[in-house]
């Protein structure tokens, strides 16, 4: 429960940075959605229900903020999360070399959902292929380079939280005795 709250708080902080801080610091249109690394992390390192709850909560929040049709971000995040759950069955995706690729793949999936679904549903006209390609490519490069760092930060936070919980439990046990 505490872990889920921590990651929801992380997600909200990242969202504020992405939507309110970064636009004031210049043009970051090539940067990827900062919540994608969090969703990847939740898929790889958190328990099923914990991860799912956080992904659902963050997906709904982002859908509320964006002018995309409701459910797009939720769909994208759920697909990424589900894919991560599936991948950890037979791949050591936490591997240092695989992690950047996994991150880039996750960013690609999100963009596919956000670009392809509106087209399939005929909700909007096609985005110019050249612009779509350049934007997605830039996002994937950013994800390759910085995604694993964010994952490391999440990992460290989870580790510290666990240590804190263990210490707190030990203190309670001593007190009870």
């Amino acid at each position: 429960m505490m872990g889920s709250l921590l990651f929801i708080a992380f997600g909200l902080c990242l969202l504020v940075v992405q939507t309110a801080v970064m636009p004031r610091l210049g043009n970051w249109s090539g940067c990827y959605d900062l919540l994608v690394p969090l969703v990847v992390f939740l898929g790889l390192r958190r328990r099923f229900w914990d991860g799912l709850a956080v992904v659902l909560a963050l997906g709904l929040v982002v859908d509320g903020l964006s002018c995309a049709a409701p459910g797009y971000y939720l769909t994208a995040y759920l697909w990424i999360w589900a894919l991560m759950r599936w991948l950890i069955r037979f791949l050591r995706v936490a591997n240092t070399f695989l992690l950047p690729l996994v991150m880039a793949g996750a960013v690609l999936i999100e963009n596919l959902v956000l670009l392809a679904v509106p087209l399939l549903l005929a909700e909007q006209t096609a985005i110019a292929a050249s612009r779509a390609l350049s934007t997605v490519a830039a996002q994937m490069v950013w994800a390759l380079l910085t995604g694993p760092l964010l994952l490391a930060v999440f990992g460290q936070s989870q580790l510290r939280l666990r240590r804190y919980q263990v210490r707190a439990a030990a203190r309670r046990a001593v007190k009870d005795e």
Partner: protein, 277 residues
């Protein structure tokens, strides 16, 4: 023959006399080169020099140390003062710019004579594929879905969703918006919609209509959303391809969406005008 006391007194007198004579002689020949003085000088002066220079150096170091410490302190202090002054200056510059922007908005508000509500942009769409912003006014301030949002430069967008204190504004550069528009000069009519690359396109303008690069586009008021006469943008390119009945007109929006900070929500939307037959 003489007592010992007498000898001592005579000796003393002689020594005193010899001393007086010697001093008198040396006083008279002060400029003569004796040689002994040079030897003494050669022997002692180097040590004197070393000690003297060392002491002076130590004194200088000591004095400079204190001077440097004081200077370093003063430097730190001045740097802090400078940083504070810069920060203050930045704040003042920001205030001046904000004042200028707000003054323009106020002038615009008085010029259009509509019930408008100033709002501040507090966030942007998390996705690069959708062009929307979040403003700090919502239902409690009288904002309703569909209301037009403008700036002093022209039309910015339309309220897409409203919460209690915040609202989402879909910008005219998004592909999902459309503004009924007129060419100010020739009155040619069409729809301005967003494209995927932060520009707009003027659609459904028939081939025969007179549209030229640089023409100013204004809202027609016929869509029932935007009041008539607000600037939308200017024509940046015109292309008449093949046998197409419409011409392709690219539009540079009049609002700079990259630096959008304050907007006006028009709370009393105009009644749609009936086109003249």
């Amino acid at each position: 023959m003489f007592s010992r006391k007498t000898l001592l007194i005579v000796g003393l007198i002689l020594l005193l006399a010899a001393n007086v004579i010697g001093l008198t002689l040396s006083g008279r020949s002060r400029d003569a080169d004796w040689g002994l003085g040079q030897v003494g000088l050669a022997l002692v002066a180097p040590f004197q020099a070393v000690v003297s220079y060392s002491l002076r150096w130590a004194g200088d170091v000591w004095r400079h140390y204190f001077v440097l410490v004081n200077t370093a302190r003063e430097n730190d202090h001045l740097k802090k003062e400078l940083a504070r002054a810069w920060a203050h200056n930045d704040r003042l510059t920001e205030t001046v710019q904000e004042n200028r922007r707000l003054r323009r908005l106020l002038d615009f508000q008085q010029a259009v004579g509509l019930d408008v509500l100033p709002a501040e942009v507090i966030g942007k769409d998390p996705s690069p594929w959708f062009r929307s912003v979040i403003i700090d006014k919502g239902r409690l301030s009288g904002v309703r879905k569909g209301q037009p949002v403008v700036t002093a430069q022209g039309i910015a967008g339309q309220v897409a969703e409203v919460a209690e204190r915040y609202a989402k504004v879909l910008l005219i550069i998004d592909q999902n918006t459309a503004v009924d528009t007129l060419v100010q000069r020739s009155r040619a009519r069409g729809l301005v919609t967003g494209t995927s690359d932060e520009r707009c396109i003027f659609k459904y303008v028939v081939r025969q209509d007179d549209v030229q690069v640089g023409d100013v586009l204004i809202s027609s008021g016929l869509d029932g959303v935007f009041p008539k006469g607000l600037k939308v943008g200017s024509v940046s390119a015109v292309e008449k391809a093949g046998a197409d009945i419409f011409q392709e007109v690219m539009v540079a929006p009049s609002v700079d969406f990259a630096t959008l900070e304050e907007v006006l929500v028009i709370r009393s939307p105009p009644r749609p005008e009936v086109p003249e037959e």
